[in-house]
Symmetry: C2
Subunit: 302 residues, 2 copies
Protein backbone atom coordinates (compact mmCIF):
# COMPACT_ATOMS: atom_id res chain seq x y z
CA UNK A 1 0.00 0.00 0.00
CA UNK A 2 1.17 3.52 -0.82
CA UNK A 3 2.33 5.64 2.09
CA UNK A 4 0.02 8.38 3.25
CA UNK A 5 1.58 11.71 2.31
CA UNK A 6 -0.85 14.46 3.23
CA UNK A 7 -4.51 15.32 3.69
CA UNK A 8 -6.24 17.80 1.38
CA UNK A 9 -9.41 19.57 2.52
CA UNK A 10 -11.89 21.85 0.73
CA UNK A 11 -13.67 23.47 3.70
CA UNK A 12 -16.53 25.67 2.57
CA UNK A 13 -19.45 27.57 4.07
CA UNK A 14 -21.83 24.65 4.25
CA UNK A 15 -19.65 21.54 4.26
CA UNK A 16 -16.22 20.10 3.81
CA UNK A 17 -14.62 17.44 1.68
CA UNK A 18 -11.44 15.66 2.63
CA UNK A 19 -9.04 13.48 0.62
CA UNK A 20 -6.14 11.36 1.83
CA UNK A 21 -3.28 11.57 -0.67
CA UNK A 22 -0.50 9.01 -1.13
CA UNK A 23 3.17 9.63 -1.93
CA UNK A 24 2.49 8.81 -5.57
CA UNK A 25 -0.29 11.42 -5.72
CA UNK A 26 -3.20 8.97 -5.73
CA UNK A 27 -6.30 9.45 -3.62
CA UNK A 28 -6.20 6.74 -0.94
CA UNK A 29 -9.44 7.66 0.79
CA UNK A 30 -11.96 10.48 1.09
CA UNK A 31 -14.88 11.66 3.18
CA UNK A 32 -17.36 14.49 3.32
CA UNK A 33 -19.51 16.06 6.04
CA UNK A 34 -22.11 18.84 6.28
CA UNK A 35 -19.95 20.68 8.82
CA UNK A 36 -19.08 23.92 7.06
CA UNK A 37 -17.85 27.18 8.52
CA UNK A 38 -21.38 28.47 9.07
CA UNK A 39 -22.10 25.64 11.52
CA UNK A 40 -18.85 25.70 13.46
CA UNK A 41 -17.22 27.82 16.12
CA UNK A 42 -13.47 28.44 15.98
CA UNK A 43 -12.79 25.71 18.53
CA UNK A 44 -14.78 23.10 16.59
CA UNK A 45 -12.58 22.90 13.49
CA UNK A 46 -9.71 20.95 15.04
CA UNK A 47 -12.09 18.41 16.59
CA UNK A 48 -14.07 17.92 13.34
CA UNK A 49 -10.86 17.38 11.36
CA UNK A 50 -9.34 14.96 13.90
CA UNK A 51 -12.55 12.94 14.26
CA UNK A 52 -12.80 12.60 10.49
CA UNK A 53 -9.17 11.50 10.17
CA UNK A 54 -9.45 9.18 13.14
CA UNK A 55 -12.28 7.32 11.42
CA UNK A 56 -10.06 6.92 8.36
CA UNK A 57 -7.13 5.75 10.54
CA UNK A 58 -4.80 8.59 9.59
CA UNK A 59 -1.92 9.18 12.01
CA UNK A 60 -1.36 12.56 13.63
CA UNK A 61 1.97 13.11 11.91
CA UNK A 62 0.30 13.41 8.50
CA UNK A 63 -0.01 17.11 7.61
CA UNK A 64 -3.15 18.75 6.22
CA UNK A 65 -3.66 21.55 3.72
CA UNK A 66 -6.97 23.33 3.52
CA UNK A 67 -8.64 25.78 1.14
CA UNK A 68 -11.92 27.66 1.44
CA UNK A 69 -13.90 29.46 4.12
CA UNK A 70 -12.00 27.80 6.98
CA UNK A 71 -9.51 30.60 6.26
CA UNK A 72 -12.07 33.41 6.59
CA UNK A 73 -12.03 35.88 9.50
CA UNK A 74 -14.96 33.99 11.04
CA UNK A 75 -13.44 30.56 10.19
CA UNK A 76 -10.73 28.48 11.89
CA UNK A 77 -7.71 30.70 11.37
CA UNK A 78 -7.66 33.74 9.13
CA UNK A 79 -5.48 33.35 6.06
CA UNK A 80 -5.13 36.91 4.74
CA UNK A 81 -6.18 37.44 1.12
CA UNK A 82 -3.65 37.71 -1.66
CA UNK A 83 -4.41 40.82 -3.70
CA UNK A 84 -5.23 40.43 -7.41
CA UNK A 85 -3.44 40.48 -9.76
CA UNK A 86 -1.69 37.56 -8.07
CA UNK A 87 0.21 34.51 -9.27
CA UNK A 88 -1.39 31.24 -8.23
CA UNK A 89 1.88 29.66 -7.10
CA UNK A 90 1.80 32.27 -4.32
CA UNK A 91 -1.02 30.30 -2.68
CA UNK A 92 1.37 27.81 -1.08
CA UNK A 93 3.68 30.57 0.11
CA UNK A 94 0.73 32.45 1.58
CA UNK A 95 -0.50 29.41 3.51
CA UNK A 96 -1.03 30.09 7.20
CA UNK A 97 0.05 27.57 9.82
CA UNK A 98 -2.73 26.97 12.35
CA UNK A 99 -1.35 27.44 15.87
CA UNK A 100 -2.55 24.96 18.45
CA UNK A 101 -3.82 22.45 15.90
CA UNK A 102 -3.36 18.79 16.78
CA UNK A 103 -1.42 18.14 13.58
CA UNK A 104 0.51 20.30 11.12
CA UNK A 105 -2.29 22.22 9.36
CA UNK A 106 -1.95 24.96 6.77
CA UNK A 107 -4.78 27.03 5.34
CA UNK A 108 -4.48 28.66 1.92
CA UNK A 109 -5.31 32.34 1.43
CA UNK A 110 -8.22 33.57 -0.66
CA UNK A 111 -7.87 36.34 -3.22
CA UNK A 112 -9.23 39.86 -2.97
CA UNK A 113 -9.53 42.64 -5.51
CA UNK A 114 -9.63 46.27 -4.40
CA UNK A 115 -11.41 47.97 -7.34
CA UNK A 116 -14.04 46.90 -7.97
CA UNK A 117 -14.05 45.24 -4.55
CA UNK A 118 -14.30 41.46 -4.72
CA UNK A 119 -13.25 38.35 -2.81
CA UNK A 120 -12.96 34.60 -3.35
CA UNK A 121 -12.01 31.69 -1.10
CA UNK A 122 -11.68 28.28 -2.68
CA UNK A 123 -12.03 29.14 -6.36
CA UNK A 124 -8.39 30.34 -6.49
CA UNK A 125 -7.28 26.81 -5.54
CA UNK A 126 -9.33 25.31 -8.38
CA UNK A 127 -7.70 27.74 -10.79
CA UNK A 128 -4.29 26.74 -9.37
CA UNK A 129 -5.26 23.17 -10.23
CA UNK A 130 -6.10 24.15 -13.79
CA UNK A 131 -2.72 25.92 -14.10
CA UNK A 132 -0.93 22.88 -12.69
CA UNK A 133 -2.38 20.79 -15.51
CA UNK A 134 -2.02 23.55 -18.14
CA UNK A 135 0.80 25.91 -17.04
CA UNK A 136 0.45 28.17 -20.07
CA UNK A 137 -3.33 28.54 -19.78
CA UNK A 138 -4.58 32.05 -20.51
CA UNK A 139 -8.21 33.07 -20.78
CA UNK A 140 -11.50 33.14 -18.93
CA UNK A 141 -12.50 30.70 -16.21
CA UNK A 142 -16.10 30.61 -15.00
CA UNK A 143 -16.82 28.83 -11.70
CA UNK A 144 -20.62 28.58 -11.50
CA UNK A 145 -22.27 28.11 -8.11
CA UNK A 146 -24.08 29.98 -5.34
CA UNK A 147 -21.82 32.93 -6.13
CA UNK A 148 -20.53 32.42 -9.65
CA UNK A 149 -17.02 33.72 -10.30
CA UNK A 150 -15.71 34.97 -13.65
CA UNK A 151 -11.94 35.09 -13.64
CA UNK A 152 -9.40 36.38 -16.14
CA UNK A 153 -6.21 34.28 -15.98
CA UNK A 154 -2.93 35.21 -17.68
CA UNK A 155 0.80 34.63 -17.02
CA UNK A 156 0.02 32.10 -14.29
CA UNK A 157 -1.97 34.71 -12.36
CA UNK A 158 -5.52 35.81 -11.56
CA UNK A 159 -5.66 39.20 -13.30
CA UNK A 160 -9.17 40.28 -12.28
CA UNK A 161 -12.53 38.74 -11.43
CA UNK A 162 -16.24 39.37 -10.93
CA UNK A 163 -18.89 37.67 -8.81
CA UNK A 164 -22.59 37.26 -9.64
CA UNK A 165 -25.02 35.92 -7.03
CA UNK A 166 -27.00 34.00 -9.65
CA UNK A 167 -27.14 30.66 -7.81
CA UNK A 168 -28.36 32.25 -4.59
CA UNK A 169 -30.92 34.29 -6.55
CA UNK A 170 -32.19 31.22 -8.41
CA UNK A 171 -32.70 29.40 -5.10
CA UNK A 172 -34.60 32.38 -3.67
CA UNK A 173 -36.84 32.93 -6.70
CA UNK A 174 -37.59 29.25 -7.24
CA UNK A 175 -38.02 28.17 -3.61
CA UNK A 176 -39.20 31.22 -1.62
CA UNK A 177 -40.52 34.04 -3.79
CA UNK A 178 -44.03 34.24 -5.27
CA UNK A 179 -42.57 32.53 -8.38
CA UNK A 180 -42.15 29.34 -6.35
CA UNK A 181 -45.92 28.75 -6.69
CA UNK A 182 -45.35 28.32 -10.41
CA UNK A 183 -42.59 25.73 -9.87
CA UNK A 184 -44.14 23.35 -7.36
CA UNK A 185 -43.46 20.49 -9.75
CA UNK A 186 -39.91 20.02 -10.90
CA UNK A 187 -38.90 19.73 -14.51
CA UNK A 188 -36.83 21.51 -17.08
CA UNK A 189 -37.22 22.59 -20.68
CA UNK A 190 -34.10 23.19 -22.80
CA UNK A 191 -36.21 25.15 -25.28
CA UNK A 192 -37.60 27.47 -22.62
CA UNK A 193 -34.10 27.94 -21.19
CA UNK A 194 -32.57 28.82 -24.55
CA UNK A 195 -35.41 31.14 -25.34
CA UNK A 196 -35.07 32.96 -22.00
CA UNK A 197 -31.29 33.29 -22.44
CA UNK A 198 -31.93 34.81 -25.87
CA UNK A 199 -34.49 37.27 -24.45
CA UNK A 200 -32.28 38.25 -21.52
CA UNK A 201 -29.14 38.74 -23.58
CA UNK A 202 -30.90 40.70 -26.33
CA UNK A 203 -32.60 42.97 -23.78
CA UNK A 204 -31.00 42.54 -20.34
CA UNK A 205 -32.59 45.72 -19.01
CA UNK A 206 -36.01 44.05 -19.41
CA UNK A 207 -35.19 41.18 -17.04
CA UNK A 208 -36.53 42.82 -13.84
CA UNK A 209 -39.99 43.19 -15.40
CA UNK A 210 -39.88 39.76 -17.02
CA UNK A 211 -39.40 37.85 -13.75
CA UNK A 212 -42.93 38.39 -12.44
CA UNK A 213 -44.24 37.39 -15.87
CA UNK A 214 -43.25 33.82 -15.01
CA UNK A 215 -45.95 33.85 -12.33
CA UNK A 216 -48.44 35.73 -14.51
CA UNK A 217 -47.86 33.32 -17.41
CA UNK A 218 -48.98 30.49 -15.17
CA UNK A 219 -52.05 32.38 -13.93
CA UNK A 220 -53.32 33.63 -17.29
CA UNK A 221 -51.89 31.03 -19.69
CA UNK A 222 -51.40 27.82 -17.67
CA UNK A 223 -47.64 27.78 -18.24
CA UNK A 224 -46.15 24.56 -16.84
CA UNK A 225 -43.59 24.14 -14.07
CA UNK A 226 -40.77 22.94 -16.34
CA UNK A 227 -41.10 26.02 -18.54
CA UNK A 228 -41.25 28.31 -15.50
CA UNK A 229 -38.08 26.86 -13.90
CA UNK A 230 -36.06 26.90 -17.10
CA UNK A 231 -37.27 30.42 -17.95
CA UNK A 232 -36.20 31.71 -14.54
CA UNK A 233 -32.79 30.09 -14.93
CA UNK A 234 -32.39 31.45 -18.45
CA UNK A 235 -33.36 34.99 -17.47
CA UNK A 236 -30.93 35.05 -14.53
CA UNK A 237 -28.01 33.45 -16.36
CA UNK A 238 -28.63 35.60 -19.44
CA UNK A 239 -28.62 38.71 -17.27
CA UNK A 240 -25.39 37.53 -15.61
CA UNK A 241 -23.72 36.88 -18.97
CA UNK A 242 -24.47 40.41 -20.17
CA UNK A 243 -23.09 41.78 -16.92
CA UNK A 244 -19.73 40.08 -17.55
CA UNK A 245 -19.74 40.31 -21.35
CA UNK A 246 -16.06 41.40 -21.36
CA UNK A 247 -15.14 38.00 -19.88
CA UNK A 248 -16.54 35.83 -22.69
CA UNK A 249 -16.79 37.98 -25.82
CA UNK A 250 -14.50 36.61 -28.54
CA UNK A 251 -13.11 33.83 -26.39
CA UNK A 252 -13.95 30.33 -25.24
CA UNK A 253 -14.78 29.77 -21.58
CA UNK A 254 -13.34 27.12 -19.25
CA UNK A 255 -15.93 26.06 -16.66
CA UNK A 256 -15.12 24.50 -13.30
CA UNK A 257 -18.11 23.41 -11.21
CA UNK A 258 -20.82 20.85 -10.60
CA UNK A 259 -21.42 19.00 -13.90
CA UNK A 260 -25.18 19.78 -14.22
CA UNK A 261 -24.54 23.48 -13.63
CA UNK A 262 -21.65 23.54 -16.09
CA UNK A 263 -23.98 21.93 -18.67
CA UNK A 264 -26.48 24.75 -18.22
CA UNK A 265 -23.82 27.45 -18.56
CA UNK A 266 -22.41 25.75 -21.66
CA UNK A 267 -25.92 25.77 -23.14
CA UNK A 268 -26.33 29.47 -22.38
CA UNK A 269 -22.96 30.26 -23.95
CA UNK A 270 -23.93 28.18 -26.97
CA UNK A 271 -27.02 30.36 -27.47
CA UNK A 272 -24.60 33.28 -27.78
CA UNK A 273 -22.33 31.38 -30.17
CA UNK A 274 -19.60 31.09 -27.53
CA UNK A 275 -17.63 27.88 -27.12
CA UNK A 276 -16.60 26.33 -23.84
CA UNK A 277 -15.46 23.24 -22.00
CA UNK A 278 -16.03 21.99 -18.50
CA UNK A 279 -13.42 20.54 -16.14
CA UNK A 280 -14.04 18.14 -13.27
CA UNK A 281 -14.19 20.21 -10.11
CA UNK A 282 -12.85 17.49 -7.79
CA UNK A 283 -9.80 16.81 -9.94
CA UNK A 284 -9.11 20.51 -10.26
CA UNK A 285 -9.47 21.25 -6.53
CA UNK A 286 -7.23 18.36 -5.61
CA UNK A 287 -4.58 19.37 -8.11
CA UNK A 288 -4.63 22.90 -6.71
CA UNK A 289 -4.33 21.73 -3.10
CA UNK A 290 -1.49 19.35 -4.04
CA UNK A 291 0.41 22.04 -5.95
CA UNK A 292 0.06 24.45 -3.03
CA UNK A 293 1.13 21.74 -0.58
CA UNK A 294 4.31 21.09 -2.52
CA UNK A 295 5.19 24.76 -2.67
CA UNK A 296 4.36 25.27 0.99
CA UNK A 297 6.52 22.31 2.06
CA UNK A 298 9.27 23.03 -0.45
CA UNK A 299 8.87 19.58 -2.02
CA UNK A 300 8.73 18.72 -5.69
CA UNK A 301 5.38 18.31 -7.48
CA UNK A 302 4.19 14.71 -7.66
CA UNK B 1 -74.30 59.30 15.23
CA UNK B 2 -74.12 58.68 11.50
CA UNK B 3 -75.80 55.52 10.22
CA UNK B 4 -73.51 52.69 9.21
CA UNK B 5 -73.68 52.31 5.43
CA UNK B 6 -71.22 49.63 4.40
CA UNK B 7 -67.97 47.91 5.29
CA UNK B 8 -64.89 48.26 3.06
CA UNK B 9 -62.10 45.68 3.23
CA UNK B 10 -58.64 45.51 1.66
CA UNK B 11 -57.84 41.79 2.05
CA UNK B 12 -54.32 40.99 0.93
CA UNK B 13 -51.85 38.10 1.02
CA UNK B 14 -50.53 38.75 4.51
CA UNK B 15 -53.25 40.76 6.27
CA UNK B 16 -56.48 42.65 5.96
CA UNK B 17 -57.70 46.11 6.83
CA UNK B 18 -61.34 46.93 7.40
CA UNK B 19 -63.19 50.26 7.58
CA UNK B 20 -66.77 50.95 8.65
CA UNK B 21 -68.24 53.68 6.43
CA UNK B 22 -71.15 55.97 7.35
CA UNK B 23 -73.93 57.28 5.07
CA UNK B 24 -72.05 60.56 4.75
CA UNK B 25 -68.89 58.78 3.59
CA UNK B 26 -66.94 59.22 6.82
CA UNK B 27 -64.91 56.42 8.40
CA UNK B 28 -66.76 55.44 11.61
CA UNK B 29 -64.36 52.75 12.72
CA UNK B 30 -61.55 50.53 11.45
CA UNK B 31 -59.52 47.48 12.34
CA UNK B 32 -56.68 45.40 10.99
CA UNK B 33 -55.46 41.83 11.47
CA UNK B 34 -52.57 39.67 10.24
CA UNK B 35 -55.04 37.20 8.72
CA UNK B 36 -54.30 37.40 5.01
CA UNK B 37 -55.13 34.92 2.27
CA UNK B 38 -51.91 32.97 2.79
CA UNK B 39 -52.95 32.04 6.34
CA UNK B 40 -56.59 31.18 5.65
CA UNK B 41 -58.56 28.34 4.15
CA UNK B 42 -61.64 29.10 2.08
CA UNK B 43 -63.95 28.41 5.03
CA UNK B 44 -62.07 30.78 7.34
CA UNK B 45 -62.82 34.05 5.54
CA UNK B 46 -66.48 34.37 6.61
CA UNK B 47 -65.61 33.66 10.24
CA UNK B 48 -62.71 36.14 10.32
CA UNK B 49 -64.89 38.87 8.79
CA UNK B 50 -67.84 38.24 11.12
CA UNK B 51 -65.67 38.08 14.24
CA UNK B 52 -64.02 41.37 13.31
CA UNK B 53 -67.36 43.06 12.68
CA UNK B 54 -68.89 41.57 15.80
CA UNK B 55 -66.16 43.19 17.91
CA UNK B 56 -67.01 46.52 16.27
CA UNK B 57 -70.76 45.98 16.86
CA UNK B 58 -71.73 46.01 13.19
CA UNK B 59 -75.09 44.40 12.40
CA UNK B 60 -75.36 41.58 9.89
CA UNK B 61 -77.52 43.60 7.48
CA UNK B 62 -74.59 45.94 6.70
CA UNK B 63 -73.04 44.88 3.35
CA UNK B 64 -69.32 44.51 2.73
CA UNK B 65 -67.18 45.17 -0.32
CA UNK B 66 -63.70 43.67 -0.57
CA UNK B 67 -60.67 44.12 -2.82
CA UNK B 68 -57.42 42.18 -3.00
CA UNK B 69 -56.29 38.57 -2.78
CA UNK B 70 -59.53 37.41 -1.13
CA UNK B 71 -60.73 37.31 -4.76
CA UNK B 72 -57.91 35.06 -6.00
CA UNK B 73 -58.48 31.45 -7.07
CA UNK B 74 -56.97 30.31 -3.75
CA UNK B 75 -58.84 33.02 -1.76
CA UNK B 76 -62.43 33.24 -0.47
CA UNK B 77 -64.34 33.39 -3.74
CA UNK B 78 -62.73 33.87 -7.12
CA UNK B 79 -63.52 37.19 -8.75
CA UNK B 80 -62.41 36.72 -12.36
CA UNK B 81 -59.91 39.28 -13.66
CA UNK B 82 -60.96 42.14 -15.90
CA UNK B 83 -58.70 42.22 -18.95
CA UNK B 84 -56.59 45.35 -19.59
CA UNK B 85 -57.21 47.77 -21.17
CA UNK B 86 -60.15 48.14 -18.81
CA UNK B 87 -62.12 51.07 -17.42
CA UNK B 88 -61.95 51.31 -13.64
CA UNK B 89 -65.68 51.92 -13.22
CA UNK B 90 -66.07 48.32 -14.42
CA UNK B 91 -64.72 47.14 -11.04
CA UNK B 92 -68.11 47.56 -9.35
CA UNK B 93 -69.93 45.82 -12.19
CA UNK B 94 -67.44 42.97 -12.05
CA UNK B 95 -67.89 42.45 -8.31
CA UNK B 96 -68.73 38.86 -7.39
CA UNK B 97 -71.36 38.10 -4.76
CA UNK B 98 -70.06 35.55 -2.24
CA UNK B 99 -72.55 32.68 -1.96
CA UNK B 100 -73.16 31.37 1.53
CA UNK B 101 -71.63 34.39 3.28
CA UNK B 102 -73.31 35.48 6.51
CA UNK B 103 -73.90 38.97 5.15
CA UNK B 104 -74.10 40.53 1.70
CA UNK B 105 -70.45 40.42 0.57
CA UNK B 106 -69.03 41.40 -2.82
CA UNK B 107 -65.43 40.95 -3.94
CA UNK B 108 -63.94 43.16 -6.65
CA UNK B 109 -62.08 41.64 -9.60
CA UNK B 110 -58.38 42.10 -10.22
CA UNK B 111 -56.96 43.05 -13.60
CA UNK B 112 -54.97 40.84 -15.95
CA UNK B 113 -52.99 41.61 -19.07
CA UNK B 114 -52.43 38.95 -21.70
CA UNK B 115 -49.27 40.19 -23.47
CA UNK B 116 -46.96 40.56 -21.72
CA UNK B 117 -48.75 38.45 -19.11
CA UNK B 118 -49.41 40.30 -15.88
CA UNK B 119 -51.88 40.41 -13.01
CA UNK B 120 -52.86 42.70 -10.14
CA UNK B 121 -55.33 42.41 -7.26
CA UNK B 122 -55.82 45.44 -5.05
CA UNK B 123 -53.84 48.06 -6.94
CA UNK B 124 -56.69 48.51 -9.45
CA UNK B 125 -58.94 49.64 -6.59
CA UNK B 126 -56.39 52.23 -5.49
CA UNK B 127 -56.24 53.54 -9.04
CA UNK B 128 -60.06 53.67 -9.07
CA UNK B 129 -59.76 55.83 -5.96
CA UNK B 130 -57.34 58.17 -7.71
CA UNK B 131 -59.75 58.44 -10.68
CA UNK B 132 -62.66 59.12 -8.33
CA UNK B 133 -60.77 62.13 -6.96
CA UNK B 134 -59.36 63.16 -10.36
CA UNK B 135 -61.69 61.82 -13.09
CA UNK B 136 -59.60 63.22 -15.94
CA UNK B 137 -56.28 61.87 -14.64
CA UNK B 138 -54.00 60.51 -17.36
CA UNK B 139 -50.44 59.37 -16.85
CA UNK B 140 -48.28 56.93 -14.95
CA UNK B 141 -49.09 55.53 -11.52
CA UNK B 142 -46.41 53.65 -9.57
CA UNK B 143 -47.56 51.51 -6.64
CA UNK B 144 -44.36 50.50 -4.82
CA UNK B 145 -44.38 47.44 -2.57
CA UNK B 146 -43.43 43.77 -2.46
CA UNK B 147 -44.36 43.62 -6.13
CA UNK B 148 -44.21 47.17 -7.46
CA UNK B 149 -46.72 47.99 -10.21
CA UNK B 150 -46.20 50.56 -12.95
CA UNK B 151 -49.51 51.44 -14.56
CA UNK B 152 -50.41 53.59 -17.54
CA UNK B 153 -53.82 55.24 -17.00
CA UNK B 154 -55.80 57.06 -19.69
CA UNK B 155 -59.49 57.69 -20.48
CA UNK B 156 -60.52 56.39 -17.06
CA UNK B 157 -58.91 53.04 -17.81
CA UNK B 158 -55.84 50.95 -17.02
CA UNK B 159 -54.15 50.79 -20.43
CA UNK B 160 -51.19 48.55 -19.59
CA UNK B 161 -48.95 47.71 -16.66
CA UNK B 162 -45.73 46.05 -15.51
CA UNK B 163 -44.67 44.40 -12.26
CA UNK B 164 -41.18 44.36 -10.72
CA UNK B 165 -40.43 42.18 -7.69
CA UNK B 166 -38.11 44.80 -6.20
CA UNK B 167 -39.58 44.76 -2.68
CA UNK B 168 -39.38 40.99 -2.40
CA UNK B 169 -35.83 41.05 -3.77
CA UNK B 170 -34.73 43.75 -1.34
CA UNK B 171 -36.07 41.69 1.58
CA UNK B 172 -34.22 38.60 0.33
CA UNK B 173 -30.90 40.32 -0.32
CA UNK B 174 -30.94 42.32 2.92
CA UNK B 175 -32.29 39.66 5.27
CA UNK B 176 -31.29 36.24 3.87
CA UNK B 177 -28.55 36.42 1.25
CA UNK B 178 -24.83 36.70 1.97
CA UNK B 179 -25.27 40.49 1.74
CA UNK B 180 -27.27 40.40 4.98
CA UNK B 181 -23.96 40.00 6.89
CA UNK B 182 -23.07 43.50 5.72
CA UNK B 183 -26.37 44.96 6.99
CA UNK B 184 -26.62 43.56 10.50
CA UNK B 185 -26.98 47.10 11.79
CA UNK B 186 -29.76 49.19 10.36
CA UNK B 187 -29.26 52.65 8.95
CA UNK B 188 -29.62 54.50 5.70
CA UNK B 189 -27.56 56.94 3.68
CA UNK B 190 -29.31 59.22 1.18
CA UNK B 191 -25.96 59.89 -0.50
CA UNK B 192 -25.22 56.19 -0.97
CA UNK B 193 -28.76 55.63 -2.29
CA UNK B 194 -28.54 58.44 -4.81
CA UNK B 195 -25.12 57.31 -5.92
CA UNK B 196 -26.32 53.71 -6.43
CA UNK B 197 -29.39 54.88 -8.38
CA UNK B 198 -27.06 56.90 -10.62
CA UNK B 199 -24.76 53.90 -11.16
CA UNK B 200 -27.63 51.51 -11.85
CA UNK B 201 -29.45 53.81 -14.25
CA UNK B 202 -26.31 54.77 -16.16
CA UNK B 203 -25.26 51.12 -16.50
CA UNK B 204 -28.17 48.82 -15.56
CA UNK B 205 -26.50 45.80 -17.14
CA UNK B 206 -23.74 46.05 -14.52
CA UNK B 207 -26.13 45.61 -11.58
CA UNK B 208 -25.83 41.78 -11.30
CA UNK B 209 -22.06 42.05 -10.78
CA UNK B 210 -22.37 45.08 -8.50
CA UNK B 211 -24.57 43.33 -5.92
CA UNK B 212 -21.86 41.07 -4.49
CA UNK B 213 -19.57 44.11 -4.33
CA UNK B 214 -21.69 45.32 -1.41
CA UNK B 215 -20.38 42.36 0.59
CA UNK B 216 -16.84 42.70 -0.75
CA UNK B 217 -16.80 46.44 0.03
CA UNK B 218 -17.42 45.59 3.65
CA UNK B 219 -14.74 42.88 3.72
CA UNK B 220 -11.97 44.81 2.01
CA UNK B 221 -12.91 48.43 2.78
CA UNK B 222 -14.94 48.36 6.02
CA UNK B 223 -18.04 49.79 4.34
CA UNK B 224 -20.72 50.51 6.96
CA UNK B 225 -24.20 49.01 7.25
CA UNK B 226 -26.08 52.21 6.33
CA UNK B 227 -24.13 52.52 3.09
CA UNK B 228 -24.65 48.85 2.29
CA UNK B 229 -28.45 48.97 2.80
CA UNK B 230 -28.92 52.17 0.83
CA UNK B 231 -26.64 50.93 -1.96
CA UNK B 232 -28.62 47.70 -2.28
CA UNK B 233 -31.88 49.66 -2.43
CA UNK B 234 -30.49 52.09 -4.97
CA UNK B 235 -29.13 49.35 -7.24
CA UNK B 236 -32.43 47.44 -7.22
CA UNK B 237 -34.68 50.48 -7.68
CA UNK B 238 -32.36 51.92 -10.33
CA UNK B 239 -32.45 48.61 -12.21
CA UNK B 240 -36.26 48.58 -11.92
CA UNK B 241 -36.53 52.14 -13.22
CA UNK B 242 -34.51 51.31 -16.33
CA UNK B 243 -36.68 48.25 -16.91
CA UNK B 244 -39.82 50.44 -17.04
CA UNK B 245 -38.23 53.53 -18.56
CA UNK B 246 -41.19 53.98 -20.96
CA UNK B 247 -43.44 54.56 -17.94
CA UNK B 248 -41.64 57.60 -16.53
CA UNK B 249 -39.62 59.16 -19.32
CA UNK B 250 -40.90 62.68 -20.04
CA UNK B 251 -43.69 62.51 -17.49
CA UNK B 252 -44.28 62.99 -13.81
CA UNK B 253 -45.17 59.94 -11.72
CA UNK B 254 -48.03 59.58 -9.23
CA UNK B 255 -47.05 57.24 -6.39
CA UNK B 256 -49.51 55.33 -4.22
CA UNK B 257 -47.98 53.32 -1.37
CA UNK B 258 -46.50 53.34 2.11
CA UNK B 259 -45.10 56.84 2.76
CA UNK B 260 -41.45 55.80 3.51
CA UNK B 261 -41.34 53.72 0.33
CA UNK B 262 -42.88 56.52 -1.76
CA UNK B 263 -40.20 58.87 -0.37
CA UNK B 264 -37.47 56.53 -1.60
CA UNK B 265 -38.99 56.20 -5.06
CA UNK B 266 -39.41 59.99 -5.29
CA UNK B 267 -35.73 60.36 -4.42
CA UNK B 268 -34.74 57.86 -7.11
CA UNK B 269 -36.89 59.67 -9.69
CA UNK B 270 -35.34 62.96 -8.60
CA UNK B 271 -31.86 61.58 -9.37
CA UNK B 272 -33.16 61.09 -12.93
CA UNK B 273 -34.68 64.57 -13.06
CA UNK B 274 -38.21 63.14 -12.99
CA UNK B 275 -40.92 64.81 -10.92
CA UNK B 276 -43.52 63.01 -8.88
CA UNK B 277 -46.04 63.18 -6.07
CA UNK B 278 -47.25 60.67 -3.55
CA UNK B 279 -50.86 60.01 -2.53
CA UNK B 280 -52.08 58.58 0.74
CA UNK B 281 -52.69 54.87 0.16
CA UNK B 282 -55.48 54.52 2.74
CA UNK B 283 -57.49 57.44 1.34
CA UNK B 284 -57.03 56.12 -2.18
CA UNK B 285 -58.00 52.54 -1.35
CA UNK B 286 -61.09 53.68 0.53
CA UNK B 287 -62.17 55.99 -2.28
CA UNK B 288 -61.80 53.10 -4.75
CA UNK B 289 -63.79 50.69 -2.61
CA UNK B 290 -66.52 53.31 -2.07
CA UNK B 291 -66.74 54.14 -5.77
CA UNK B 292 -67.01 50.46 -6.64
CA UNK B 293 -69.62 49.91 -3.91
CA UNK B 294 -71.81 52.66 -5.32
CA UNK B 295 -71.62 51.28 -8.83
CA UNK B 296 -72.19 47.73 -7.64
CA UNK B 297 -75.27 48.75 -5.64
CA UNK B 298 -76.50 51.24 -8.23
CA UNK B 299 -76.40 54.06 -5.69
CA UNK B 300 -75.07 57.57 -6.17
CA UNK B 301 -71.53 58.47 -5.10
CA UNK B 302 -71.33 60.01 -1.63
Amino acid sequence: MTDTYFVAVDWGTSGFRLWVIGRDGTVLDSTTAPLGMSRLKRNDFDRVLEESLDKLGIAQDVPAIICGMAGAAQGWCEAPYLCAPTRLDALGEGAVSVRGATRNVHILPGVKQMAPANVMRGEETQIAGLLHAEPSFAGTVCLPGTHTKWVQVKDGAIQHFETCMTGEQFAFFSQTSVLSHSMILDGWSDNAFRSAVRLATQDPVAVPRRLFSIRADMLVRDQDSATARATLSGLLIGQELMSVVHYWRDQSVTLIGAPPLCEIYLMALDVLGVGGRSLDVETTTLAGLAAAFHIQTGTVHA
